[in-house]
Symmetry: C2
Subunit: 704 residues, 2 copies
């Protein structure tokens, strides 16, 4: 196996395919943390050299042991540190001194606790390892297991519970348990797993690095991740991009998606909480399919391993039960799979072979007639195989067995799958029936809802995987006005946006009542008069805005009132702004901020008074293109308004998307200088009339 | 067994506990539709008399047979008609002539098809049966199976696949397959099923009747329903009320919940589609828990059969995996189960028994330390059993087995469950581990998400079951004004509502421009001027409303304009209405209609221009009380506004609920006279200021 295709930050070959392994704290008892890896290395065919370290024994589990690492006759590639938390730092020091490339620290009681001593000890171990270039996996790691190389450096009991078999699946997890539960579920279904790695506290080596490393293993065809905290988004993005290139799907649980879950994650591995909408956008943007639990992680495995790449989402349901078809139609609708409209040609051909009371509309209901005539399947499926409208097939057999020729049904279904080369799954709650279809290599589910969910995941994930990431736009240079205040006042904020290509309302910054009069004269009609101060965000709530001013006198009066009010509030007085009132079909909002983990994040949102109380928003990670912006806007609850309802004209979604893309470019190009941009309201007008940003607040980045 | 407690429309004892059964079309081949029931009756211990009818044989499956029904020496209680669709009508006629009490028609090809001959034949069979008082189950019925009496009058193959055992569960289904799939899933888990009945086309006997009948069986402790169409809501309501009295929970799949699913149901059993929100309200109102698929139907069975009645929703999660705890916390949050805040006393006691790196906050993370010390469970659980904040417990063991003392863990968990007497479920993906806990009688799930979903269902269903239905209010008499027009004009609509106790805007119906002037003088300020015609609903869209009129002259001008416009539109001219503009904190809407299946239905909704395009509404079935109205309003997306946000005062939810209840009373009392009532907008003002109905449209029922 070669890991040399794309070296990660440091080469983790020594972790995954070591030629020699030392086990510090090796135990003669194969049921102990220090004994189990030794047992696994011999049992699972590791062909390199193994050096048990145990000061009290010459031989451990039949292997010659050494009293200390220094006494080992070569420099091991990998060291398993299976001693207590108290002894681990010394062991790390010894490994670094010996020149070990990677050390796995298994003991818990470090950075995952609230104990400052534990945290400090963890940092010191990493610091000492860095001096010699040694990498540390853990602490608090259950270990790494590569069933391709036999390097099973793990103390999990799962590999005793369920025998391993090498195969195309790789699992990388921040949790020990979640590195092996998917392994167990897959192995019980007869699927081979090559990699099962747990990173633990990630004091040094991260999940993203290990993900990139296992993706360089050409045998890996599916990568499963369990994530509590994305620490190095850029590295995970690289791994995902490489997976896309290699056409390896990635499925991930990212837990802590609720507030309470995020709290629990913090107390589990000290995970940092990120805004879950941002996490979601990151994963989707990188073509990673997100699931919510351990069963979800493995549900679709067989479909991925078939290399089915559905070209659409149109489902055909075939069942011997009308009820099953009805429930499947409900589930499909809820999961966004339309039912294919079967062509007349196909319908006629189907009707010829089915009893009168059967239904040849989709869902196709063979009815209980299948019991008396098992040939129905065989005459119907070849017809369906040629149906051009179908992208996905569900064969649902809620009842079969006794009296049915299940062998023939299985043969017909397998021939059908081979003929169509489109995804075909079987739902059969009776395991005796399911076993037939499984043995014929068809993905088979006890639960029909799971079967449809798997098809929906395959089709949706295919959509994500096909979407090319938007290229980073480099043309823009961002220049903020000089100044020390963390916020730009409204005039500077609007000018900044305008200078960088966004459509803002015309305005005049007035420094006197006469200025206000002249500004009114310039715009006429109805104007807004707003205090301008780099210390005054949230102007409306503080009485710093006068709307619908309709004369020069009133504008001058408003000037005076607002300047006084700024003084009363002891806020800097940069003047007041006069701007025309802009009529909008809908008030919307845009925002951007630089996320410490994920970089520039853009928020698209419905606007108005209840923007916080009744949120309706979506996020985008820059860079993104107009299509992505459109998808984000169309995902809002208010999306129907974009098309126009009740005789209203459609909104200018094109201009809105252009502004959204521009904001993403500004945020990306200005990452070092900007902390956030708040554009609210953004006045959306009828198609062709554009959008107008009426108020804005730009926040500088705090210099590091 | 006695079914005499509460007789249903006609007594179905003969169907469930017959003393004698004839099988028309009895076959010697036990794998045929006419052979299987005979085999079942002998195999499953039916102790009554059985009369195979077969013109060609003297003995069928070893039982003396008769050439025709007329030759049978007694009148059988029940007849199984297992002949073809063509022969079924004759068989029905023969049964009626013989005096049979109930006939089960198994053949398909009747009302479930689009063939008018089939539909007609079905109607004729029912008509002939009615002449002698015979009841018909089916046609297109798989049959009825009562494992208590041994009366297994079904041709399902499932009872061969999975051996029956009598027990506390009853299944009544409109689908044959769905009468036996839950049976199979439950039997495989060792749970006894007494009733498994399929109603088929329900030409006569309905699911609701059979539900009521099986509920009269004192052995039944849980009722599972599969419904495609609720045909007799009142009977199902009676059954549900009786189940509530008997404390028997009902869980139902009501399929066809999406448009596509409803279409599929129509082509399956000719099911009528009902607005799914109304179905949902009906089921909830009757304490029936709705699930979405066959696995959902059986998921929570063990918990119900424990007779656990949780008093709250506060969950405690205990796991040997932090990741498992994090995912459980996410799932719990999404399912609306708060995590219990563990008391300090309990925490201290827990901390004393756990390693430092374990977490005693909820989720409680025992960590992998459980592997080396299986006693941790036993020392921790008795402490938790005394925790007053806990209502529900999840014990999650994603990894155990080899190296763990699973026997001891099981003992400790079982003792804990006995001690707390609160719901305790176990999640264990390894079946070898799960088997231990199952054998100790603990509800055990492979999938942790399922385990939490079962707890959430139990707790939520308990909430529904505890809610007493609102008593029918009888005091109200509804009087509609005389007239023939299907719609009341706005003046009459408002007057009708006011006369029946609802708060409406003051208004004047004007028949001249001078009337309009006087009306303006009466109200002053800003008024609305609206055309009044019983032919003019949707006034705003047709230019028949002038808002914000601020002088008597303008009111007079508006009068003239609107009367002209009514004339131009060729609409009846009942005058114009002048009414003061009412300021609202929020425009809402209320509606009511008489549903042909479910009776009076009230809709509560956010208001405004986009009421259709961006729906935010809930429905209530009358009668309901103020608490139910509050729950409905609080279920809307705009619910945060009721409490007041951004410094706004709260809305007058009390007045809103009172109006909602009143509307329900009017709709219920006026069911024969009213078709619908549309109150839009309903102006919600600050708490204490009430609500005002500003426009209304009352629609008369079309006389039958």
């Amino acid at each position: 196996m070669s890991l040399s295709l794309r070296p990660s930050r440091a080469d983790l070959t020594a972790a995954l395919c070591p030629e020699s392994i030392a086990i510090i704290g090796a135990s003669d008892n194969p049921h102990k943390v220090g004994g189990r890896p030794l047992m696994y290395l011999s049992r699972f065919g590791f062909r390199g050299r193994v050096y048990p370290i145990n000061p009290a024994r010459d031989v451990v589990q039949g292997v010659r042991a050494y009293s200390e690492l220094a006494a080992v006759p070569e420099t091991p590639d990998l060291a398993i540190i299976a001693v207590s938390a108290a002894q681990a730092p010394d062991a790390v020091r010894a490994c670094a001194a010996k020149g070990v490339k990677v050390a796995i620290v298994m003991a818990a009681g470090f950075g995952e606790t609230t104990d400052p001593n534990g945290r400090l000890a963890e940092q010191q171990m990493v610091a000492e390892a860095r001096q010699t270039g040694m990498r540390i996996v853990g602490p608090n790691s259950q270990g790494l297991a590569n069933f391709g190389s036999g390097a099973v450096a793990s103390f999990s009991t799962m590999f005793v519970e369920v025998a391993p078999a090498d195969g195309p699946v790789a699992i990388v997890s921040q949790s020990g348990v979640m590195s092996v539960v998917p392994y167990g579920l897959l192995r019980e279904r007869g699927i081979g797993v090559r990699h099962s790695h747990a990173t633990g506290n990630e004091a040094d080596v991260t999940l993203a690095e290990l993900a990139l490393a296992v993706l360089q293993d050409p045998e890996v065809r599916l990568l499963l991740l369990y994530i509590e905290s994305i620490r190095d988004a850029a590295m995970l993005g690289r791994a995902a991009d490489f997976a896309r290139e290699r056409e390896v799907p990635i499925v991930a649980v990212k837990s802590g998606r609720t507030t309470r879950g995020a709290q629990a994650a913090r107390s589990h591995t000290g995970a940092l909480a990120s805004d879950d909408q941002v996490v979601e956008a990151f994963l989707r943007g990188h073509g990673i399919w997100r699931v919510s639990d351990m069963h979800g992680l493995v549900r679709t495995t067989e479909l991925y391993l078939k290399d089915w790449r559905p070209r659409g989402r149109e489902l055909v349901i075939v069942s011997n039960s009308g009820a099953s078809g009805v429930m499947a139609a409900d589930t499909a609708a809820e999961l966004g799979l339309p039912l294919a409209t079967i062509s007349d040609t196909t319908r006629r051909a189907l009707a010829a072979g089915l009893p009168d009371f059967a239904s040849v509309a989709n869902p196709i209901d063979i009815t209980a007639a299948l019991l008396t005539d098992s040939q129905l399947f065989g005459s119907l499926l070849p017809v369906l195989a040629r149906e051009p409208a179908a992208d996905l097939f569900l064969l649902a057999l809620p009842v079969a067995g006794e009296g049915y020729d299940v062998a023939a049904l299985t043969r017909d279904a397998a021939a059908f799958a081979a003929q169509t080369n489109k995804p075909v799954v079987v739902a059969a709650p009776q395991d005796s029936v399911a076993a037939w279809f499984r043995s014929a290599g068809l993905p088979t589910f006890a639960n029909q809802t799971d079967a449809i969910a798997a098809l929906a995941q395959l089709a949706s994930h295919e959509g994500l995987r096909r979407r090319r990431p938007a290229p980073m736009s480099l043309a823009l240079t961002v220049r903020l006005p000089a100044g020390a205040s963390p916020l730009l006042n409204e005039a500077d904020s609007l000018a900044f946006l305008e200078n960088h290509g966004l459509p803002v309302v015309p305005y005049v910054l007035c420094l006197s009542a006469d200025d206000a009069r002249r500004a009114y004269a310039r715009f006429g009609g109805a104007v807004a008069v707003k205090a301008c101060s780099d210390q005054a965000p949230h102007k409306s709530d503080r009485g710093l805005v006068v709307l619908d001013v309709r004369s020069a006198d009133d504008a001058a009066a408003a000037f005076t009132r607002l300047m006084t009010r700024l003084g009363d509030l002891k806020l800097g007085r940069d003047g007041i702004i006069v701007a025309p009132m802009i009529a909008a079909r809908r008030e919307l909002a845009l925002g951007a901020r630089i996320d410490p983990t994920f970089g520039p994040v853009v928020m698209v949102s419905d606007g108005g008074r209840y923007i916080e109380a009744l949120p309706d928003r979506a996020v985008l990670l820059a860079p993104f293109d107009g299509d992505a912006a459109r998808v984000a806007w169309q995902s809002l609850r208010i999306a129907p308004l974009f098309d126009g309802v009740r005789g209203e004209p459609p909104l200018d979604l094109e201009a809105l998307c252009a502004a959204t893309v521009r904001l993403g470019q500004i945020a990306a190009a200005g990452s070092g200088q900007l902390a956030s941009l708040d554009l609210n309201p953004v006045m959306a007008r009828a198609a062709g009339d554009g959008v107008v940003i009426v108020d804005a607040l730009v926040e500088r980045a705090v210099p590091q």
